[in-house]
Structures are given as structure tokens and as C-alpha cells.
């Protein structure tokens, strides 16, 4: 009985914290329509701030609490609303998603910057661990207070939303912002209020975790995934259901601990070691199941997203991969071994980003689990690609495709944030549970080997007897692999299947009424994407030579998704952009300019937050910028000649690496104005034409714009429209 009570109290306390966190999330979602993936990160930041004031600087707890909960967190909420969230109105769900995920990444980066993650931090629960006796079980005041706080939050929110003018205005704002404004509601103000309260609640939940949990930016930020599950049980709308959800999850986690032993006495399966870390995955599994059980949504009609990704031409793509391979071969010849590894990383990460192009770019399905599939690929390569056997790569693709298809099935009916959450749940489940398992057997015969609770070695590939174990060979291998997969993706885009994916993205309803089985199409694209990510992961493992679970964590996967979206998720160039910028930000730049390393931690987040202006991505802008160069033979000739000269100079050791780099940069930039100069004549000729044709017949709709309106025009229009003078001047009125 007393164990039962102990775990009941633990469960209730955890549930209370989840409830506080989840209610903040529901509040901001229902009042502003933005699902804040960074809610947990805000809570994490609040917890760190509190630690700073309370434990590092030794301030009294009430003052520290007041400053964090009543000043800092609400101010941060207002800042979020004014600086970021307000601009998101009218943008697509995908952009909102990327922005809030970026915020999550930026906050984690900032916390790791300010508070060195390698340092251990002392924390303590409130009331110095004192407690009281409750039917023979010890309850700490901290636990009691936590439960009371959750109850107070529930009552308080109910009061604010239904009894205060500001709360009613908040609820009106969600339904229709302009309409609420017309009726006198200050929608900006109520959104600010919602964000202020939401952030404060997030911080409160973060602080309540102190004392029971280590102060770690990633862990604390992701604890909120458990709160997401609670919020999902409340369908992101109902606060009472959210509290019930929190209760279910908190208790399920607590009771798993006691009943697992009891169960294992009766059922052998529960003794298996692979259930050891299961507890931490319970909430995520509940989240997955809840998403699965959501009522069948109506088939999505026309998407309002206006990204523009032109159909890639085969020739252009061949030129692109040719430059990539030649560039990789050339640059890798003159760099140190450690930079060669960085360069090889660009391609491996680029392949993982490529996996998102068919899935998210073509088919419009968001996945936050691509790095998790890469992890599966890397493990597969480690265990089945012994001695650099290329068959390991094949197995990585096949196993990932299989698992990808399995994940797709429950995710099929979901879209937007629900799909993002489901894939996040899958990634976090791998993260917390599966990837940390020791070797185990399934059904007694099938041996599953993962990271063996540490790191496993990956042998670099031997392809057709070619040894790629040198870093430079890794660069070339990566470039070739990236290019082949990129060409495959381009071919896919131009194929029947590619058209089908784009059609599905535009209108699922239309596809279904044309007889398309959306299930098959979605499963196929999920499997394909997972397979590409798996191959990328296997190659990434080869570059690193040793892989561990941490490298493929959910948090580490977020920048790949963000940067691929920022680069342009619908094009292979976008994936390359993601690979380059990720390698630049995480390894190359910190190496070259060490003082920047902390700033670089938060850069991907900042880049992502600034998205929303150009949903087609950076690469399309770059392409546009270089358009005059590509259209001018003179500029292309200049570019080719200068680059050849630079290559020769570098090869003969006449110039060193940095001058080479800058010379290439200058040549590239200079080619654009040169192109413009020589391409100038053609547009000028075209531009003259409308002026010359002013006297001639012009289309009716241009009359009044390109030349003044005449009586003759009116007569012509009347004749064309069949309107008589009587009708026009309203004889019927009299």
C-alpha cells in the first residue's frame, strides 16, 4: 500500500507539472493559432534563469520566483509576440512550424552558450526537501505545493478566460482576429497577454522540475513533449481535458515503475532488458496513440502555400552535380585532413537533407525524424557493413525504408502540426528508449544490435575494390553519392510518381476523386525518404568512423529540417545549402574563427526565425541573383577562364588556400555584373516595344493604363458587352 501511495504522489506531482506546462501551450495555441514547439524551451530557459538567481547568486526563492515568473517570462512572451509571432499571421503552417522549431533550437543554443553544459549545477527542490506524513507515506512540501499550484492554475485560467474582459477578448481573437478588432477588441493586446501568460506558465513548469531533474537544456526542453501529449488529449483546445491528459500520463509513468515488476512475475516479456528505459518513452507513445486516434479529418483541399519550385531541368542538374564533384575533388586536394572530414560531412548531411526533398518539398509531408532514420542507417552500416561492405549501404536503405513505411501508416491521416508532432514523437521515442538499448533479441531469435549503450565503429566503404578510408576519398565518395541521389531526386520529380506527389500536395481531395489511393502514395514516399536518410546516415557514420546515439538525437535533427526549408525544400540545391551551412556552422567556422563558436550555436535558429519572408528558400534567390551570369556567354566564358586560371595557380602552388578562396569568390561575384553588362542589349530592345505600339491596337483591358480612354473605346466596349445606352444609364430606375 505504501509503495502504491508513494508512486501515486510522484505521479500526481509529475502530472501537475505537465498540466501547468500543457495549459500554457493550449492557451497560446487557442488564442494565437501558433503551435509553439519552443514552449518547452521557454520553460527550460526560465528554469535556468531561476537557477542563476536562486542558486548561483543566492537570492531568496520568493524574489527569484517573482522576477522570473512575473517579470522576465511575461516580458519574453510579449517580445515573442511583437517581434516574431505577430508577423506570422497569414503564413502557412509549415512556416510557422519552422519558426517555432527554430526558436526552440535558438533557445537551446543560447542556454548552452550562457550556461556551460559541461558543468554540473546544484539544484534543490523548494522547502529544502521538508515534508509531512500522509498515511504513513512521506510527502514533501514541494510535491504538495506543485499539485496545489496546478489546481490554482486551472482555476485561474478558467477565471481569466471566462470572467475577465481580457480573457473573453482573447477567445474572440482566435475565432476571427479582424472581426474581434471590429468589435472593439484589442487583438494585439490579447495576443500579447496570451503569450505573456503562456511563457510564465512554461517557466513555472520548468522551475517545478528543478530538484527532481538535472539542469540540462536539451532534456528540459524535450520534457515538454510529454506535455504535448497531454495537450493533444485535450485536442489542443480543452483545458479540462488537457489536465486529465496530464493526469493520465503522470500516473502511467509512475505506475509503470511499480507494476512492471509485478507484471514480469507473470509475463516473461516484461523482464526483458529492452523495457528498462521504456518509462521515459511512455508519454511519447501516448502522444503517438492519441494522434492516431484523432477523428478522421476531411481530406485537405487546396493548400494556400505559395512556394515556387521550378521543374529542374536534367541538363542544369547535371551541370550542378558536375560542379559539385569537381569542386569537391579540387578543394579536398588542398585542405588538411580535418577539413576534409568537414567537407565529407557536408555531403553526408546533404544527403540526409535530400531525404526531405521528395517528402516535404514534393509531397508536402513534414517529418522531423530524418536524422533518426539516419541514425538507424548508421547503426545498420556499423553492424552489417563490416569491412566496408557496400551491402551495408543497401541494408541501411532497405531497413530504413521498412521502418519508414511502418511509421507512415499511423501518420497517414495527419497533416501539418499533427504530422510534425507524430514524427517528433517517433524521433524522441528512438532517442529516449530504442537507441539506448543494449543488444536484444526479438521473438527469441532475431538479434537486434544498436549503439550498444555507447558508440559503435563504422568501417568506411570499399566500393568495387576501391578503398575510401582516406579522408579525401571520403570527400569524393560523399560528393559522388550526393550527386547520384540528387540526380535520382530530380528524375523522380520529372517522373509520374513526382507529378503524383506534387498533385497530392496541392489537393488531396482532387487526387482522391480521381481515383488515387493516397495511402499507397504516402507510404511509398515516406519509405523512399527514410531510405535516402538511411544511406546518408550510413555514409555520415563512415565519415565519423564511430557513432553514438547522441549524434542522431531529435534536437540535433532540427537544424537539418530548418536549414533545408530555409535553403528551399523543393530543390536539390536547398539540400546542398543545408549540408554546407550545417557543416559551416557546426565545425568549419568554429574552427576558423573560434570566438564565434557560441554565436554559431544559435545561428540556425535565428536563420529559421527570419524565414517566412521567402517560402521558396534562399537557393531560389541565389539562382535569381546569378541569372544574368548564366544567360551570358561572355560571363560564363570569363568565369570558366578565371576559375581555370585559379586552379592552375593553386595546383602549381603559386597561391595558397585563402587567396584561392577569395579569388574564386571575387570571380564568382564579378561574373554577375559582367553578365548584366553584356545581356543589357536584349532587354532594352524588348522594353521599347510597348512604347512603339502605343498608337496601334492594344488589348481592351490595357486601355486607360497604357493610353487614355476615348469615346471610341466606350462604344467598342458597349458593343462587346452587348450593353445598350438605356441599360447603362438606368432607364429601368425611373
Amino acid at each position: 500500500m505504501s509503495t502504491f501511495l508513494t508512486f501515486l504522489i510522484t505521479g500526481l506531482t509529475t502530472a501537475a507539472i505537465y498540466a501547468v506546462g500543457a495549459s500554457g501551450l493550449v492557451l497560446t495555441y487557442t488564442t494565437t493559432g501558433v503551435f509553439n514547439f519552443a514552449h518547452g524551451a521557454v520553460g527550460m530557459f526560465g528554469a535556468f534563469l531561476y537557477w542563476q538567481l536562486r542558486f548561483d547568486w543566492g537570492w531568496p526563492a520568493p524574489i527569484a520566483l517573482a522576477i522570473v515568473l512575473l517579470v522576465m517570462a511575461p516580458l519574453f512572451g510579449v517580445f515573442l509576440e511583437v517581434a516574431i509571432m505577430r508577423n506570422l499571421e497569414g503564413t502557412s503552417e509549415a512556416v510557422r512550424l519552422v519558426v517555432s522549431i527554430s526558436l526552440l533550437a535558438a533557445l537551446v543554443g543560447a542556454a548552452n552558450w550562457i550556461w556551460d553544459p559541461t558543468q554540473n549545477r546544484f539544484t534543490a527542490s523548494f522547502f529544502e526537501g521538508k515534508g509531512f506524513d500522509f498515511f504513513g507515506t512521506r510527502v514533501t512540501w514541494h510535491e504538495a505545493a506543485t499539485v496545489l499550484i496546478a489546481i490554482a492554475v486551472a482555476i485561474g485560467l478558467r477565471f481569466v478566460l471566462y470572467n475577465l474582459r481580457a480573457g473573453v477578448a482573447m477567445r474572440a481573437t482566435v475565432d476571427d482576429r479582424p472581426l474581434a478588432a471590429l468589435n472593439g477588441a484589442r487583438s494585439d493586446r490579447s495576443a500579447m497577454l496570451a503569450w505573456a501568460i503562456g511563457c510564465s506558465l512554461a517557466a513555472l513548469s520548468g522551475i517545478l522540475f528543478l530538484g527532481t531533474l538535472a539542469l540540462d537544456a536539451g532534456t528540459l526542453s524535450l520534457l515538454i513533449v510529454n506535455a504535448y501529449a497531454a495537450a493533444m488529449i485535450g485536442r489542443l483546445r480543452s483545458l479540462p481535458m488537457t489536465f486529465l491528459g496530464a493526469l493520465i500520463i503522470g500516473l502511467a509513468e509512475a505506475f509503470w515503475q511499480i507494476y512492471r515488476n509485478d507484471l514480469s512475475q507473470h509475463f516473461h516479456v516484461f523482464t526483458s532488458t529492452y523495457l528498462d528505459t521504456f518509462a521515459s518513452a511512455i508519454a511519447v507513445i501516448i502522444l503517438f496513440v492519441v494522434l492516431w486516434l484523432l477523428p478522421n479529418p476531411r481530406l485537405r483541399g487546396h493548400s494556400r502555400v505559395r512556394e515556387f519550385f521550378p521543374t529542374p531541368s536534367l541538363r542544369g542538374s547535371l551541370v550542378f552535380v558536375g560542379i559539385v564533384i569537381a569542386g569537391a575533388a579540387f578543394i579536398s586536394a588542398w585542405t588538411t585532413q580535418s577539413h576534409q572530414i568537414d567537407l565529407a560531412n557536408v555531403f553526408a548531411l546533404g544527403i540526409i537533407a535530400l531525404s526531405l526533398v521528395p517528402l516535404t518539398g514534393f509531397a508536402g509531408q513534414v517529418s522531423l525524424a530524418s536524422l533518426s532514420f539516419a541514425g538507424i542507417g548508421a547503426v545498420t552500416m556499423a553492424h552489417l557493413g563490416g569491412g566496408g561492405d557496400p551491402l551495408g549501404l543497401l541494408w541501411a536503405a532497405l531497413i530504413c525504408a521498412g521502418i519508414g513505411a511502418l511509421v507512415a501508416i499511423p501518420a497517414l491521416r495527419l497533416s501539418g502540426i499533427y504530422l510534425a508532432l507524430a514524427t517528433a514523437a517517433f524521433a524522441v521515442m528512438l532517442d529516449r528508449w530504442i537507441f539506448n538499448l543494449p543488444n536484444f533479441r526479438v521473438f527469441g531469435w532475431f538479434n537486434v544490435k544498436l549503439f550498444e549503450q555507447g558508440s559503435v565503429a563504422v568501417t568506411r566503404l570499399k566500393v568495387f575494390g576501391l578503398d575510401t578510408s582516406s579522408p579525401r576519398a571520403q570527400v569524393v565518395l560523399g560528393a559522388v553519392a550526393f550527386s547520384l541521389i540528387a540526380l535520382f531526386v530530380v528524375a523522380l520529380r520529372r517522373s509520374r510518381f513526382g507529378r503524383r506527389l506534387l498533385a497530392m500536395k496541392d489537393s488531396e481531395a482532387a487526387c482522391a476523386t480521381l481515383g488515387m489511393n493516397l495511402v499507397g502514395t504516402k507510404v511509398a514516399v515516406f519509405a523512399l525518404s527514410a531510405a535516402i536518410a538511411g544511406v546518408g546516415g550510413a555514409l555520415y557514420g563512415g565519415v565519423q568512423q564511430s557513432v553514438n546515439a547522441q549524434m542522431f538525437s531529435f534536437i540535433n535533427g532540427l537544424p537539418i529540417f530548418m536549414l533545408a526549408v530555409v535553403g528551399g525544400i523543393g530543390a536539390i540545391g536547398g539540400a546542398f545549402f543545408a549540408g554546407i551551412s550545417l557543416a559551416l556552422l557546426t565545425t568549419i567556422l568554429p574552427d576558423v574563427v573560434p570566438s564565434l563558436s557560441h554565436l554559431l550555436l544559435i545561428t540556425p535558429g535565428l536563420i529559421g526565425i527570419s524565414l517566412g519572408r521567402n517560402p521558396s528558400g534562399a537557393v531560389s534567390q541565389i539562382r535569381e541573383g546569378f541569372a544574368p551570369m548564366r544567360q551570358s556567354k561572355v560571363a560564363l566564358g570569363f568565369l570558366a577562364a578565371s576559375l581555370t586560371a585559379i586552379v592552375v595557380l593553386r595546383s602549381t602552388n603559386t597561391i595558397a588556400n585563402w587567396p584561392t578562396f577569395f579569388a574564386a569568390l571575387v570571380v564568382l561575384v564579378a561574373s554577375v555584373p559582367i553578365g548584366e553588362m553584356f545581356a543589357h542589349k536584349a532587354p532594352a530592345e524588348v522594353a521599347e516595344e510597348p512604347g512603339a505600339g502605343a498608337g496601334a491596337e492594344i488589348p481592351l483591358e490595357w486601355v486607360g493604363i497604357t493610353r487614355p480612354f476615348t469615346d471610341e473605346d466606350v462604344r467598342q466596349m458597349d458593343a462587346a458587352l452587348g450593353i445598350s445606352e438605356v441599360e447603362m444609364y438606368g432607364a429601368a430606375r425611373s
Binding site: R500, D506, S507, C511, T513, G515, N517
Partner: protein, 244 residues
Amino acid sequence: MAQLEVEDVIVRFGGHVAVDDVSVRADAGRITGLIGPNGAGKTTLFNVITGLLTPNAGRVKLDDRDITKLPPYKRARRGIARTFQRLELFSVLTVRENIAVAAETRRSWAHDGAHKASSIDAIIERIGLQDCADERVDSLPTGQARLVELGRSLASRPSVLLLDEPASGQTESETQRFADLLRELSHEGMTVLVVEHDMQLVMSVCDTICVLDFGRIIATGTPEEIRTNDAVLAAYLGTKKVGA
């Protein structure tokens, strides 16, 4: 033989009854019009027929077989195709590609060469969009976009064609061409069910007209009968006696 039958269908959205015990029949080789003021439940009925919406009660039958439980794609494979009032084109694809997606989809259940380039060209010619066949559809004016939707549904070689306000956004000459095309299709034996606000078009092409108001059928008959039906006049003009 009656091709498409809707029997006693009821659809509720919360407390609002959008379609209230409606039965409609559309026969092969005939054009059936479905008219009524905005919000009468016409598009909702189309969604029920194509399976995008599950009715609260009632049945949908195709050639005497109950298809109420079938998902949308299986109904399409039985020969039901439709266009949408709010265009649902594949906006980033060209006219030809839009039609090709439909034709290629047909390959997964029928092998009759519908996906061949010549078949696709024939459809493009039929809807008269040869000149802009390789343009992206989001650059087309609404009238032409509606033709693309029609072409796309024809590519799946349907036996029943549902058209949701096909003439809105079309110019008068386009509507004229469209009317001819509809007559042609119906002569070929297709069952055509059309929702339309353009009375001139409805009256000139339809063999039978059903009038919906507030989710109920208030009249069924030939264009001539509908033109003089009191209930219809009341629904459209708001008063009982309108003075002929």
C-alpha cells in the same frame, strides 16, 4: 437504367442540417441540373456522392450497387468524376501534367491506354486549350482553369460526371462552347450532374432539373416545369406571388 441514385441523404453540421432527406436520380445519357440558392446544400451533396463527406443517413447507389461505404478513390474507380466549385487544380503543374496525373492514376485500375500521349492530346483538344497546354495552371484565368478541371476529370474516363459551377468565371463564348461540350458528352452516354447558377446554361442544356432550398428538394422537373414552378420562384425571389 438509372446510373446514379442518391437516396434519403441527411447531412448535419453540428445543429445545422445542410442536406435534409434528399433523393436525386441522374440517368445515363442525360444532363441533370441541380440548382438552388447559395447554401442550399448542392456542394455538400456532391461531397456525399464522391465520398469526401460521410452522410449521417441515406445511401448513394451507382448502377444499383450501394457505394455509400466506399472511400473516394474507390468510387472514382467505379467511374465517378467531379470538378470543384473552389478550384482544386494541381497549381504548380502544367495543363498537360494536370491531365496526365489523372490519366496515369487510371492506370492503377484500368489498362486502356488512357495515359498515352495521344489520349491526353485528344482531351486537351476537346477542351480547346492547345495554346496553353504547357503553361502552369496557376497562371490561367478562372474560365480556362475550369476547363482544365473538366479535362482532368475526363482523363479518368468516367461514366458519371459531376460539375460544380462549371460556368462561373467563364466568358459568354466560353460558356457557349462549354454547353456544346456537355451535350456531346451526354450524347456519348455519360451521366452528367451539374450544379450551376447560370440559368441560361442550366435551362438550355439540362434534361431534368432538381431545385434545392435549405437542404430540401423543393421541385424536380423539366426546365419548362421548373421555370413556372411557384415554390422555385419563391425560393429565388423571396415572395410567393411574383406576378408573371
